[in-house]
Point group: D2
Chain length 416, copies 4
């Protein structure tokens, strides 16, 4: 057992930490002020972002999330870090609202790149994967639907019907994150192809150009009042969107396997970023607790504040270890071996972060709810991740199923 980061992870951590401090943090507040003021229909990316991306690419701090060394025509080869190494970097990036994007490590592009890398055709890779890897375009993932409980993916109603050498998409998706981004060029759409097939062979994933006829972004959805521009979360209708059959990723009916592969590392990334946010919130809480005075004492010395700070530290440290172990399981045992661990972190981390950030908000008084601190936004991120990529309840179900598997069920006497 060894809890120390590898030298390589440690080295990259030092480098991205310096990059974020020197290059990103000085401009981040202005960036956020600009994008927060954008209303629906006004999304635009402040130019500083492309400048930062160019610097990061030049510094080799690029596509760090990829476990493989991937060569990209016209772009740098990714370093190929194990998940356990990348996790540490993701935590650091998570403290910033834009660092992930600067290092070309932001969702949903990361997952979409993984999908295209492993399952995309050469043509799909050339058209979509390479520009994504170079950071030239962005993408969206269209899975969740407004009209059904999407926690059960088999509920999905949108269709992807094969019609000769074409595939025709219909339906309505929402929470399509990133679709508002001016550079979003491609959507990965998931729909029902064959309801008569096996439960896990009914759906297809399709690459949809953002400007394909029939694709309409109906509206951008606020999350707890935040539009999250310039990428945002869209409700998108697909109305007889007709594409050549080679827009399908893999084969028709193959979506579930692809989706599974997409979600393991993505959940580790999300969770480590959230841990970074929770650490940031705890730092704010400590600073506030020591610098504000009430009733003649620093807040830290009032009531249960110290205990809450200790509880936050313990919750964060436990959650981090759990995520690192999940990443290590992904690296050493693959998706199946990490199944329970990944579901565990998906429950533990957002709940932990929600609690820690709520505590930090409370220590900040009204300011904690405003935009003067990153806390309101951080809370919203944590809260939304209790739903995104599978709600708590579904992941608890996975953990319980694995836990109970060794035990023989009682004979329930045929009752319902």
């Amino acid at each position: 057992m060894d809890f120390a980061p590898t030298p390589r992870a440690q080295d990259l951590l030092t480098r991205i930490d310096r990059f974020i401090r020197d290059q990103i943090e000085p401009v981040e507040e202005a960036y956020l002020r600009q994008v927060t003021a954008q209303r629906e229909g006004e999304f635009a990316v402040p130019p500083v972002l492309e400048q930062l991306k160019a610097k990061a690419r030049d510094a080799g701090l690029w596509n760090l999330f990829l476990p493989q060394a991937v060569e990209v025509p016209g772009g740098p080869t990714s370093p190929g870090l194990p998940n356990a190494d990348y996790a540490i970097l993701a935590e650091r990036m998570g403290r910033s609202a834009i660092a992930s994007e600067v290092f070309n490590c932001s969702a949903p592009d990361t997952g979409n790149m993984e999908v295209l890398l492993h399952f995309g055709s050469p043509a799909q890779q050339e058209r979509w994967l390479h520009p994504l890897l170079r950071g030239e375009i962005r993408s969206a993932f269209c899975m969740t639907e407004p009209d059904v409980a999407s926690s059960d993916a088999t509920n999905m109603r949108a269709t992807a019907i094969v019609d000769g050498d074409e595939i025709v998409l219909n339906g309505r998706k929402w929470w399509s994150t990133g679709i508002g981004h001016p550079d979003c060029d491609v959507l990965i759409f998931m729909g029902l192809t064959d309801p008569t097939a096996h439960r896990y062979a009914q759906h297809s994933m399709v690459c949809v150009p953002r400007d394909a006829p029939g694709v309409t972004v109906e509206r951008m959805l606020p999350t707890m009042g935040f539009l999250d521009g310039p990428h945002g979360h869209g409700e998108v209708s697909f109305d007889d969107v007709r594409l050549p059959l080679d827009a399908v990723i893999g084969t028709p009916g193959g979506a579930f396997g692809i989706a599974q592969a997409r979600l393991g590392p993505g959940r580790v990334h999300h969770c480590m970023r959230l841990i970074g946010l929770a650490e940031l919130a705890l730092e704010h809480a400590c600073r506030r607790a020591m610098s504000r005075t009430a009733f003649g004492k620093p807040l830290a010395n009032l009531g249960g504040n110290r205990e809450r700070i200790a509880d936050a530290r313990m919750a964060i440290d436990q959650a981090r270890l759990l995520v690192l172990q999940a990443a290590w399981l992904l690296d050493t045992q693959g998706l199946q071996g990490a199944l329970g661990a990944v579901s565990q972190i998906k429950v533990v981390v957002p709940n932990m972060a929600q609690g820690v950030i709520d505590m930090a908000i409370q220590l900040h008084g009204g300011g904690g709810l405003s935009d003067d601190f990153p806390l309101a936004g951080a809370w919203t991120m944590a809260r939304s991740l209790r739903l995104a990529d599978g709600p708590d309840e579904v992941h608890r179900g996975v953990v319980a199923r694995l836990e109970l598997a060794p035990y023989k069920p009682a004979d329930a006497g045929g009752a319902a």
Copy 2:
């Protein structure tokens, strides 16, 4: 012991319930859509609100929050309901985002009217109280400050210095709710007058015309991304605001007593409205739990959802009884007799509501975080009330102090 509402409360409840269903609910969604789209600087009140207010006034459903029958020149006499009776009505109003205002029962006007009624001079009453009672103008309350821990009111830095027959105000306030409202005409400002006086005789309350020279609304503050127009929450600077001495409410140095009187009933109102919101959230949760299907079952039959619904019901019912008892104590024993009870509800209810609404959000999936349901807004209301009018920690401190009072302290050996 008798847990039944009085016939009078029951009758009024029936009437406002019918009014809200017939008059308010049909227009509320459109109203909210309009005001939510307003950015800072664009606040305006949709005309339907004044129409509704006129109808409510004509129906005698007006100023219900006042425990006394108060005659108003040119307006209806208030019915004069005990707090325990009004509490039941406040719960009903709390389910709507605008009903309190329609019945001229919305904060901070209610508290400001109580202050002016009990402590205002005849001139102040004529100039500010009567238009407020008639619903012609609105008001703000300027107490909390950005630069100090306002949970300890003695931290207050803004000043209200007597200079001959004038009083001069300086300082910066924030979370001045209502100041963004186009009809906001008067601010009640609290500031430090005499730092050499007794701890509770140092501050003054002053009526400040919204357009007094030196009063500047620096910005409107978002709460978890919500600007809460058209009233909003402002950061306000007071820069040598010079007013005649008779702008002081009561006497200089008398603010603490006035503030105390203001807060008891106001906390009951807030809490009962929140209970209404929590009930609304639970209804949404139940409806969703029975109408959405996943894994072949209604959500209600999955995992711990039923238990959470039961927990919500138990939490709401307990909290409601606690508030009603606090209201009854206010009615029967006055502010001092209800001190602990009021602090108790101020902790219990917002925390309870935050939890119930969070549960309802979870059952709604991504929709719960959007504006498609009243849940994100309700959560924000509950969360902000864990800070407004005294944070949880301060109220827990009051409850503990009263609880421990009968016990003799250990001799701590002179240590700090």
Copy 3:
């Protein structure tokens, strides 16, 4: 709405409070020391108890739990208090380990007396009810079984088979509280009579003399290490226990209705006694917090101790109001009208008490776990009531069922 106790309840409260202080408390510790030292097979009642009972009977503080004025040959007529009045007295009794018994108000006799009063034949009443009402004998209730999940009463395996003019009992029961008491003379046994009848008409309740052939107390069960002598909790086997048919209470197959009637008030009693215990624990916590010093301060001023004391106060007060309301509903709307309320308190109160007592234990350090304070015993009482009379989960299920009843279920598409 009126939260004041009735004058009658207030008067009786004053009287039993004085009786407990003057008569019971001075002897209680010695009593407990005696009975705690008793091992299985050694149960005996210290004589002081019968002396106290005689005094209580003479003072008219007797059978207070009965909502009706019941005349007893050779005993005092019970005062006939509404549940809401008695609840206040039960709280006071709950602070003492023996007061309930002194006032002839202890479980399971109370429930058994109610059953015999409402459903017993004149012969059963003369033989068992009257001596119970006079406090001459004690009783047990044999329902829960070791081999099945007794939370689902239809699981019951013990049988009560009608054989001509006899009824024959077989099976094994446990947690038969009171069966160890030297004066226990009668058991009320519940068993399966007709598995072909309607789900709620299959079981019978039978009066079983403690010394009937075939009745064997196999062992006394410890609860968290406590044997709870001299009454205790037994595991009892019934081996061809043959009784005349008139030992059946009501009619064969009628047990469920009887059991229901038994449980409403009984749960109110249990809950109010637990509230008394929680208050006692909070008092101990406060006394300790103020009298012990660590790090130069009374414990009350360390860390989150004050907040926990405040939280305990708020939890107790809410729970008490909920129980009083449930009692009031029983009084005004009967069992059906109070169904949800009774299930609510059965979840809320033991969990609340468990938490409050745990907090008090923590403030007492190791002493809190010992027998030097009533806390370890109180915790065990609270914990066991999360299981006795239906586990939390069953009662949450009742609350949720009632809550969801108004909502139409989704069509689950025929899936399991």
Copy 4:
């Protein structure tokens, strides 16, 4: 980062697991039945225990807790396992009530052996350490006192006064675990020597023969009703116990440094054993959840039971990682480097275990509170460890102090 156990730890785990299954488990129930029936004054060790110890010693599964390879005259040399390796073994031992003792790894002997190994004189080592290492005698640790808040060790009132070439002990200790054991031969006593010295140089540790004149075991203390024989927890008076000065461990005034060294690894041991107990409880919970049926379903499929099982799994896994990391920090950075980590686990693990075991109890119904399952005892162990070796509150304080250390305090204006 590497989460796999070392080959050596894995090998030993396999061996002790087999030993426990083959040798200990078949006799454990009978052993427990015997000792549970023992009352105060009757403590005796069933002979099987010495037989098991001999087998374990012969198999080299002995003194595994020692990080060093220690040679013992007449006994086997300890393998010398790093804390992180031993932790895994301690978890396995923790599932059994007697395995730790069988492998000579049970508290308080382990801590006492570490103290004597590092700080004992050659004479002390020969007289006490070697028999302890050979498992011939047992020991107790006398630190906590009944009359003061022992969470603050500087409160200690017992005295160890140097009088010429003797040291004289006076005072009263309690929760002296192990003192009831028939083989307990030595007590390590801590007392105040010089109140004028620096806060951390006032106390001494002294080796006291169990039969020294003036040592009286006043009584054995029950923990939640359990006497925990044959070792038990004693209240011990020291009445002018006069010993030669060389009974002092190290030098007079040196106790605090010794106590610190004792507590780091000891807490890791306690915590890992508790994790074993929590795993055992979870297994019982799962088995019960799948084998008992209510309302026509296995308990696992009712209400929130699955979620609770998932929550238990996640809580255990997080806690285990935290303990393993603390052990690794002890190994790689020493006591100071592991200070915060050790305090963290001391809070996290007992609370986690208490919760998991409580859940398991609930699934077992009344049986969970009885002695039929190891759950009531396990709960009591977890609960008592929230107090033993420093209560939660003290350890939270350590964690918070370290967390807040980097932040500059506010100037509190000289107020208290």
